[in-house]
Amino acid sequence: MRGGTGPVIMRDVTSLPRPLQRDAISRERLPEEAREEQRRLRVLNAATEVFAKRGYLETTVDHLVAAAGIGVGSFYALFQSKELCFMQVYESIAADVRDGLEQAVSSSESAPGQICACLQVLLEMIESEPIRAKVALIEVQTAGPRMVACHQRNLDAAIPLLRRCRGLSPFRENLPPTLEPAIVGGVAWLAHQRLATGEAGNLGALYRELVDIVLGPYFGEEQAKLLATQN
């Protein structure tokens, strides 16, 4: 303590009362890269909410930085533009969906079984995370031609699995040539409309109908019902 004109007495920190002692630093400081990544993910989470609430077109960088609690300079250091921010939001959601679907596919050996499992995973994801689903299915439509094309490629990734069902179908000789993209488009539209009208919460109840919509054209209604029950 300073006092009068006497010398400053430097005390050892351990002699200070307990509440004034700093805790020993027991955790390792995260590397710079990891801290940057954590910050990026925090901003992406905030951006997801903003894009879902305001729509892609009405969202500005100011909205994004305000929600994320960062400065404009930090935003541009991470994303360079609103479009690139959205792209990363979308890709983060798409990566989680891909992971979920890969696990679903590995849960069954038959193509119809894999499709049933994929439908269950998709319905669960949309119901449990409607905000992310809205961004990935609805807002992507107004995020520019590059994003629309990217989204279409992701949807089309389901087509090879559907074509395997065509190979197993007793009606395969007569099925329409554009059946697979039509089925993918139909399911995507259905999910889109349910999200747009705020009915995503009850999507799971559609599982059996969805199985019929997707597998019925290949195997008929009775077989589709059986597949929905078995899977």
Partner: protein
Amino acid sequence: MPRDRRESISLGTAPARPCDPVGPTGEGSSLRQIQRAVVDLVCERGYPEVTILDVVERARVEEEQFYHYFAGFQDCCIETFETIARRCEEHLYGAYDVPGSWRYRLRCAGYAAADFLRDNPREARFAVLELRRGSDLARARVEAAVEFYTDLVDDGRQELEDPSAASRAIARATVGSILSQVIDQARVGDSPEAEQFVPGMMYLAVRPYLGQQAAMEELTLSRPQDPPR
């Protein structure tokens, strides 16, 4: 809305909208010029790249005339879409509202839709592709208009022994399938070939309500010539 709209189309009492191209002093023609210009420009450049000045220049009208009809660019696009949608609905419902089974009437409407797309490729591209990308409000209006077509497919539930056993989701998915095919074609500047497109769509539409055999038959049926007696 769609059921009321169908009734009003059927009775010929569909209310005239402010943007209907009517008017004694050529007023309608400048409106049509503006609407034609906005469709052409949006298809050529994309919705975000078009301005009101572009539209009035292409339409060869004064800016004041534009604001006589529309509050702004988005309003112009949405009202133009409504004009196109109304024409399409009247065309389709005219083909659907004939004597015969639901399946037959839907097939007639399917070919009418394919013909409309073939005869109005720019309008189709404007409505299903460009406008949906343009603004959230425009996208919402386009998507709401699709419910009209969902109604026609959803009528198929009445073919079931227990119509409540199925939900509207089936019709929505079918219309979504059709819409996705139309969008795919519009992306490459094309319209669906009716004789290939309609049987495939009828297969999807009919199967949930009338079964596999009826659906397979649809793949072999050609364009209806005359309504059944």
